[in-house]
Symmetry: C2
């Protein structure tokens, strides 16, 4: 079955690759319209998924993530309409010139071909990913969370209706419509047809893809992010940035997990930190040196473990460690970080420069919250994933990350001498 | 052992990443000088490797590929000096601006970190890859062909002497100095330390890496390249391009393997092709439709098999197939090509445009030999590999392909609202 899907996706990708931006936008507008017009089918499928999820004892919070209603579907449709406004990177000539041999050469942006996406429960991702792939002329094979496989299937059928209305094949957007995990394993081996695989989920999913996939994978999304508070940081401003980085959306991968504080300011800063964290409801996990100082304040504080330095809290919990200076801060980030987003709060331009140059992360910040690592915030207009690997794309991936290039060479019956 | 090498390489990569172009060029010049000054060590190791190779019955042609002498070592040293003249991509600001939030943002080119390279016998690749990695601030772990493991080890020790002379760690360039294949399997799993893996070898090595590596891999180097001779091609010019694409270096991945000829010109073109191929000593493998026409000429011709369409000849052998037009030519290339290099010979601008847009290969040519797909020919100054996958880099990979980027963000104690 996966083999057939791959073949159909590859065939469709050839048709998508030669569409103009205007043609692709027309398809997207039809998809948006049909998501509203055919919402009954999607909502009915969602009902069945929700019933199963309730039966399986999923939490109310999780049920809410799975749930669609007319307002949410309209929001999703409007997001598709927004994608029409983004510039189409396909066809852009990146560079070019005339070679010594007389050949005229160009590097042109082209679609990747077929993109496979494996994601967790939220059903809006189905439309989100499909629209970004179509906008860039890529076919997509989608494998959403098993809790919403009916919703995802119904959604993709609406998208396929829109494709057919424009004379395009249903193979352009396909869903793996089964909760069977074995199909994920099959998808991972479909390198003959799938050009890029994007897992969007937890560390386990990324590990599975890295180990099992024969398709090039974009891994990322795991953020053990740090803020280093330098000896000359502005304490009041630092506390605001820390609260924002932790609390604005604790479940996000770009939220801060570990605070590294310069020992020189420990005595003044840590009690103030404790007071503020208590106000904000943030629990602290402290290293042996910071623990006694933090215990002078009102915050809930316990001893941090080595393990906790390596994991995302994704909750109102924050590790605190004293460091003797920038070198130790950088060394800690290199050892425990996930190359996602790390920040320095400082008034020293020398230390800022060193931090930015020596911390090897997708996004490095000076005097700002780590929460900005996001395609929308970075001005990319959209985000298909956040990469923490170094090949192809790093950090927030916008439309450009869904393209590759080809070398186009024009000769005059030219031969190599 | 591999774990230790990975750790040392990662540590070294942090030092390399902050070197200026001038500092890196000084190291390269010292490497070149020492390759000449310490040639005795390398040549002695090469003698031992050659003796083993003779004992194992390797062909004279293969022995010649493995063999180093003072003149060849000087050539290798001069190649290193050439790398100094190339522009350093590291530190280049790719784009940037001010975001709505007031943050100032830049995308800066940075080294990948640690690059692993697995290659076959030629000992010059050791120096070649090491110098390109150092030029771009990357540490390298090299695993050359087992036939030259002593030569590669001795070469890397000379490079390490040069590194130490400049206060840099030996971990910056390391060789896996053992013929044990199990070490390759260990290298493939070293994702904690190695950021990119480049296999340079045959289809088997690429398959092994794609299937087993947990490190992002660049696959490529396999070229089943096609030339489509359109109905309105200039026959005399076409024959010259075909001979060049096949014969200039048959063992190269960018040499042509299959000729697709428009049926409309078959009766005139195929006998002329046969005569020219006979002159050039090229054997033909023909499909059922072209076979009788080719048999009217003097060339050695036999029936082509399905299998032969999928493989590289890497020899003076050429498949010939008649196609009813551009659509069939494109369909054949999609089915049997390896997305390396494919050409159309035509006087039709409409067909040229369609071929360029619809053939999904790293390099697509109009009226030129496929032999130009090469970093040097494409003006990149160097080539670390030829990628036929779509992530990160496509076609010839120059220095830029050995870099990634980081997002550098400057705020004013900025928080996300």
């Amino acid at each position: 079955m996966l083999e057939e899907m791959g073949k159909a996706a590859k065939a469709a990708s050839y048709q998508l690759a030669v569409l103009s931006a205007a043609q692709k936008n027309q398809v997207l507008m039809t998809i948006a319209d049909r998501l509203e017009a055919q919402s009954a089918d999607i909502l009915a499928a969602n009902e069945l998924d929700l019933a199963d999820a309730r039966k399986n004892g999923l939490s109310e919070a999780l049920l809410d993530r799975l749930m669609l209603n007319p307002a949410r579907l309209q929001g999703i449709a409007n997001d598709v309409r927004q994608v029409c406004h983004l510039a189409d990177p396909v066809g852009v000539v990146m560079d070019g010139g005339v070679l010594d041999s007389g050949l005229r050469i160009e590097r042109r942006r082209v679609p990747l071909g077929v993109v496979g996406v494996i994601y967790e429960a939220r059903p809006n991702v189905t439309v989100d990913v499909a629209s970004l792939c179509l906008k860039t002329g890529n076919a997509a094979i989608l494998r959403g969370g098993k809790e919403t496989y009916r919703t995802n299937g119904a959604t993709v059928r609406v998208i396929q209706d829109a494709l057919k209305e424009h004379g395009l094949p249903a193979g352009a957007v396909q869903a793996i419509e089964s909760p069977d995990r074995e199909l994920v394993n099959q998808l991972l081996k479909l390198d003959r047809y799938v050009d890029m695989l994007i897992p969007r989920g937890g560390a386990g999913l990324h590990k599975l893809c890295r180990e099992q996939s024969t398709i090039p994978v974009i891994t990322g999304g795991i953020g053990v992010c740090h803020i280093f508070v330098d000896s000359n940081a502005d304490a009041a401003a630092a506390l605001n940035v820390i609260v924002n980085a932790k609390k604005q959306r604790p479940s996000a991968c770009n939220s801060v997990e570990t605070l590294l504080v310069h020992t020189a300011i420990a005595e003044a800063f840590l009690p103030a930190l404790s007071a503020r964290m208590q106000d904000e409801g943030i629990n602290l996990h402290a290293d042996p040196r910071s623990l006694p100082l933090l215990q002078q304040g009102p915050a809930v504080v316990s001893a941090v473990t080595e393990e906790q330095y390596r994991d995302e809290w994704l909750a109102l919990d924050l590790n605190v460690k004293l460091v003797d200076g920038l070198d130790e801060a950088i060394a800690h980030i290199r050892e425990y970080g996930t190359q996602h987003s790390d920040a320095i709060l400082t008034r020293s331009i020398v230390n800022a420069e060193r931090f930015v140059n020596e911390v090897d992360s997708s996004a490095v910040y000076v005097n700002a919250s780590t929460r900005f690592t996001d395609g929308g915030q970075f001005g990319l207009g959209a985000e298909v994933a956040v990469s923490t690997q170094k090949l192809h794309a790093r950090g927030p991936m916008g439309l450009e990350a869904l393209t590759t290039y080809k070398w186009v060479v024009f000769g005059n019956d030219t031969v190599r001498s």
